[in-house]
Structures are given as structure tokens and as C-alpha cells.
Point group: C2
Chain length 165, copies 2
């Protein structure tokens, strides 16, 4: 049993006991895409994120259902094409994850995309200003260090590309 | 320039242009711990998360500064001990990450902890009811599948333990 504390246009805050947490209005999920090329590169996106006031490096991603289509796989294919210009022949659903369960109800579905062909420039839609980076996996840790050094924030989903254990 | 839309006890919602986002009151960060044993196991925690209404599987973690000490490394050591009962001889700061930059200002610092010794049962403090799991890394993907099958949600930070690329 949760109580609505505040509702905006995109986000709402709820209370369960003494726990405050946020969720998207309509409880929309997200699709996140781990896209790798046949040449062993990973497709990353860079954009200004208002929540941080800084540029971030992220996996391509987008909301599920904001266009009326609630199929996660369709959202993943659409977002990969819009943000990066790549289309993928091979898709695998890698499961659902929670982004920050201590404060947020947000979940995302992770997709692996392979068999990539670039059919457009990417960059996003509706005023999104997305820079596409195609980075060799063998050097991704060093590439992310360099991105941090020029002021970028690294999204936690990039942990999937770092061999830390 | 951001505008405060709502403030609760723990969370606040801000607006930048048309972008709504959440942050913790006081902008506290978090420490997240990738703790592995000499035997090649990873230390995981399971707890009920009110934001999801379900049990989650996560890396040990905790807020930085909620006890008045704003040193991330100190928070990491404290949380690892409180939640899991392990102390670590070797600590490495693996950098800062954003959990969900499309909707949240939340950041965390990831620490790698090795040279583990178990000195207590863990379980958390102040009514936290945390179950500790010590899982062989070689079988962690299958273990997480089984956790999902019994109804658990997997935290996105577990991506660090999955060899998906």
C-alpha cells in the first residue's frame, strides 16, 4: 500500500511506511541496448543530462510505451536506430533490472544487439542532441577514463562493459 | 539553474527547463562494494525494497554522509561490515557512476574489496533485514536466474558481475 505524495508531468513520489520513492508517471519502463559490432566495438551515446548538468556516457536507451507501443523489443530497436543510426539483425533479451531500488521503482530491460548495420547518422529526435561513439571493447576502460577526464559522467549500465571481476 | 518542485524528508524533485528529476535531500552519494573472496565468490545482499514491493539482489551499498562522515571509503567499509559481516584488507576506488541520469541526480562510488575476512553475521542495522549470499562468480549468472525465478529483482549494479560482452 503506497501513498501518492507528489505528482508532476513525468515523475511522481510515493510513500510506503517511512520510505519515499520516485517512479515515472504511468510506471513506464525503459529498454537499454548493449550493441556490439562484428569488429568488437561497443556503441555508446553521449548527451547533456539536466539531472546532472553534465554530459553523460550511456548505453543507447529509451522509454517503453511513450509512443503507445508497449513492446520492449520494439522500443529497443526504435531507440537504437534513432539514437545511433544502427539496425541489428540479432536481438537477445538479457532480462529486467532495477536502476536504484533504494529510491526508485524504475526498471529496465537489457537487450543485446548484434549483427549491426549503420543506416543513418543517429543523434536522436525532438531536439535530442546525441553524440554517437563506437569504441573498441578492448580499450573501453581507458576510453571511459578519458571521457571522465574531460568532464563526462559514466552511467552505471556501462558496468556491463568493464571486466572488473 | 534548477527549481525546487517538491521536497520530502529524504527526496526532492527539481525542474530544469521541462526536465523533472529527483535527488536525495542533501545530495548524498552512495558507496557500492564489489566484494570478492579469495575463493572466487562475490558477496551479494538480498532485502525487501519498498520502491518495488519485492526482494532485490544487490551489491552491498550505503549512503555517504548519513552518519556525518563524508568519506566514501569509510562509508564503503562501514556498509560492507554492517550488511555482510565482512572486512576487507584491499580496497580500490573504481570511480563514480550515475544510476539513472534521465530522471535522477544520484551518483555512487564503486569500490572493489578484496582480502575478505568474515567477522560477523551482517544483516544490517536499525531494522534492516538483509540476507547475505556468497556466490561463486563462475555460476553467478545462473544464480541470478534462479533468484529471478523465485521473485527477486536484480539491481543494475550486478551487471558488473555478468560477462555479457
Amino acid at each position: 500500500m503506497t501513498t501518492l505524495l507528489w505528482q508532476g508531468k513525468y515523475l511522481e513520489v510515493r510513500l510506503d511506511g517511512t520510505w519515499e520513492f520516485v517512479r515515472r508517471v504511468g510506471a513506464m519502463g525503459a529498454a537499454v541496448i548493449l550493441a556490439t559490432t562484428d569488429a568488437g566495438e561497443i556503441v555508446l551515446v553521449e548527451q547533456l543530462r539536466r539531472a546532472l548538468g553534465r554530459h553523460t556516457i550511456e548505453l543507447p536507451a529509451g522509454l517503453i510505451g511513450d509512443d503507445g507501443d508497449f513492446d520492449p523489443a520494439a522500443a529497443a530497436a526504435r531507440e537504437l536506430a534513432e539514437e545511433t543510426g544502427f539496425v541489428a539483425a540479432d536481438w537477445v533479451n538479457l532480462g529486467d533490472f532495477a536502476t536504484s531500488p533504494g529510491m526508485s521503482a524504475e526498471m529496465f530491460t537489457l537487450f543485446r544487439a548484434r549483427g549491426l548495420t549503420r543506416t543513418g547518422p543517429g543523434g536522436g529526435v525532438d531536439g535530442e542532441d546525441i553524440i554517437v561513439h563506437v569504441v573498441p571493447l578492448a580499450g573501453v576502460a581507458e576510453w571511459l577514463d578519458a571521457a571522465r577526464a574531460r568532464g563526462c559522467v559514466i552511467d552505471s549500465r556501462l558496468l556491463v562493459a568493464l571486466a572488473l571481476v
